[in-house]
């Protein structure tokens, strides 16, 4: 028996080696796409952010500028405004989406399965309809003279004069938030309904026997049990909001006077209208860092709350 041992180890080594070859053959197609169209562009983006790389320069004429793009960015009032707007969108949207979807889900997960499915589909519809179709119709709804919103508010006596929603630096960002909200709650509702359905009913029964109120049951048991879902929802909503581009590009193009400009939209303008690729990539790197830090923070705060 003792002599068989080294042999066995040798053959398991061989097996592992054989497995390694097969494994990489199986991984190869996926890795080719992943490396070529995700990792490589990520690396290129970081690299060119240190160069003065514009459309006019042929690649060989790129000049190394070190951190100049980054230093320029933090002295650029337009960029700082875009950062402020982006952070504002996150601060408003993330709690609103999370709380709203939790509220809707905590009600519909208990109702009849067919009805629940109808609600879930309806709240998911704006996601499936597609950003462009959604924005095109909202732009009409928001229009100063042809829009149904002003008509409703005027006939309801809420406003006296038509408001140019998208032309006002106060209101335009709220229009974006509203559309964003309707397209962001669909996925969290699906997730919360699934998570709430998985909460162990015996926990709730036990608490009720002990005389807990509905409110107590909700916060002490259900809220604690769905905490991983909440965390996930907050992280994806944050990341999505940070990348908000299509709404801005289709609705306001960052205006009026930069009031709806976001980092992602400014990056697009810089890269594809000003052709200043290096500068745009520096914005991309900053955006990635901001998203990374925020996600990590949320993860930390939430996991602390989970562990009690």
């Amino acid at each position: 028996m003792t002599t068989a041992k080294p042999n066995q180890r040798g053959s398991s080594h061989n097996l592992m080696r054989k497995e390694t070859i097969v494994s990489y053959l199986f991984l190869l197609p996926a890795l080719l796409f992943f490396i070529g169209f995700v990792l490589l562009p990520m690396g290129l983006g970081l690299y060119t952010s240190f160069f003065n790389y514009t459309m006019k320069n042929p690649v060989s004429a790129d000049t190394f500028v070190g951190l100049r793009h980054y230093i320029d960015l933090f002295g650029n009032p337009a960029f700082l405004q875009a950062v402020r707007n982006t952070v504002f969108l996150v601060i408003v949207t993330v709690p609103a989406v999370t709380l709203f979807s939790l509220w809707v889900s905590s009600f519909i997960y208990r109702i009849h399965a067919g009805l629940r499915s109808v609600f879930r589909i309806i709240f998911y519809l704006p996601v499936v309809t597609g950003t462009v179709a959604v924005v095109v119709v909202w732009k009409w709804i928001f229009h100063e003279y042809y829009g149904v919103l002003n008509y409703l508010l005027k006939s309801g006596g809420v406003i006296e004069k038509n408001i140019s929603w998208l032309g006002s630096s106060t209101w335009a960002i709220w229009c974006i938030i509203l559309i964003m909200f309707t397209t962001y709650v669909g996925q969290p509702i699906v997730l919360y309904v699934a998570a709430l359905g998985n909460v162990d009913p015996s926990l709730i029964e036990a608490a009720k026997v002990d005389g807990a109120t509905d409110m107590q049951v909700f916060w002490k048991i259900k809220w604690a049990q769905v905490m991983p879902t909440t965390l996930y929802i907050m992280v994806i909503t944050t990341i999505n909001t940070f990348q908000c581009f299509s709404l801005v590009q289709l609705l306001t193009r960052g205006g009026p006077s930069g009031s709806t400009n976001t980092v992602m939209y400014m990056l697009y303008e810089t890269a594809f209208n000003l052709y200043d690729y290096g500068y745009a990539n520096a914005m991309g790197v900053i955006l990635a860092i901001m998203i990374g830090i925020l996600s990590a923070m949320q993860f930390k705060v939430m996991s602390k709350e989970v562990s009690y």
């Binding site: 990520m42 462009v132 009409w140």
Partner: protein
């Protein structure tokens, strides 16, 4: 399943509020469909027509004078090709990461997870450079290839492949089945639900994508339906009927597909979130 025993005032009020909210979530879609049948005069009148009393198909006639059918077929092609390639590559890779023990496994998986945490859109600028280099600019493959590269599918397939029983794989090995045959005839039937979920997920997301398509496709005949609608909007700013016809053409097919495959889609969303 009806656990809502008491119809307390709170429950009734919540139900009413939810119905109102659901109606307002439906309203944009209603406005698209009815709007597409409104004449220009009705569409821009100061008093909105809640229903097109004199419906017209002029908007659709004008829409199809644009290459709208081409836009639609382009969209179908891009979405289908992305879906098939994602399913092929991700199922192989996900199964391997879940069930094979090989050198570098932890590293590959860590790389995939780390890149998923980064914003997808920051790679777009360098991607344009890569597509120019590959002579693929203004080509549907410039949209397909990055969609396939995004590793979410691998992650989803890996999560699902964990549930394949090791004994089944072991007995296939003892029976002398080759690696590829094991994958095709044993693994794929087990992970079928994941194929459904990832497939419909990829199809719908690619259909509705905008940013990637916007920077990659340029000439009018190569546009997707998303880009087509956006183009109509910038060309005919207040021709709402035409814009709504475009929006209806782009969204109705995908909504029907979504409702039809809803079960798989919901599964995909919840599976992706497990240990997300």
């Amino acid at each position: 399943m009806n656990k809502l025993k008491k119809s307390s005032p709170y429950n009734i009020l919540t139900m009413l509020a939810l119905i109102l909210l659901a109606l307002s979530f439906l309203f944009p879609l209603y406005w698209i469909i009815t709007g597409s049948f409104k004449s220009q005069m009705v569409a821009v009148s100061a008093t909105p027509a809640w229903f097109p009393l004199e419906p017209t198909v002029d908007n659709y006639i004008r829409l199809f004078k644009n290459p709208a059918v081409k836009w639609l077929t382009n969209t179908v092609f891009v979405s289908l090709a992305s879906m098939v390639l994602v399913l092929l590559t991700a199922s192989l890779a996900g199964y391997t990461l879940a069930k094979k023990r090989f050198y570098g496994r932890a590293f590959v998986f860590a790389l995939i997870i780390a890149s998923m945490a980064l914003p997808k859109q920051v790679v777009l600028v360098p991607l344009v450079r890569i597509m120019d280099f590959l002579k693929l600019s203004d080509n549907p493959w410039a949209v397909i290839l990055p969609t396939v590269g995004w590793p979410f599918g691998i992650f989803l397939m890996k999560q699902f492949s964990e549930s394949i029983p090791n004994e089944v794989l072991e007995s296939a090995r003892i029976d002398g089945a080759g690696e590829l045959r094991t994958f095709v005839s044993i693994v794929t039937p087990i992970i079928k639900p994941a194929f459904g979920a990832l497939g419909i997920f990829t199809f719908i997301n690619t259909w509705n994508d905008y940013f990637l398509q916007l920077i990659m496709l340029r000439s009018r005949a190569n546009l997707t339906i998303s880009l087509g609608i956006a183009t109509l909007q910038s060309e005919y700013a207040t021709n709402y009927g035409l814009q709504m016809a475009g929006a209806a053409l782009g969204s109705i097919p995908i909504i029907l597909i979504f409702i039809f495959f809803q079960k798989y889609f919901t599964q995909g969303i919840t599976m992706g979130a497990v240990k997300g």
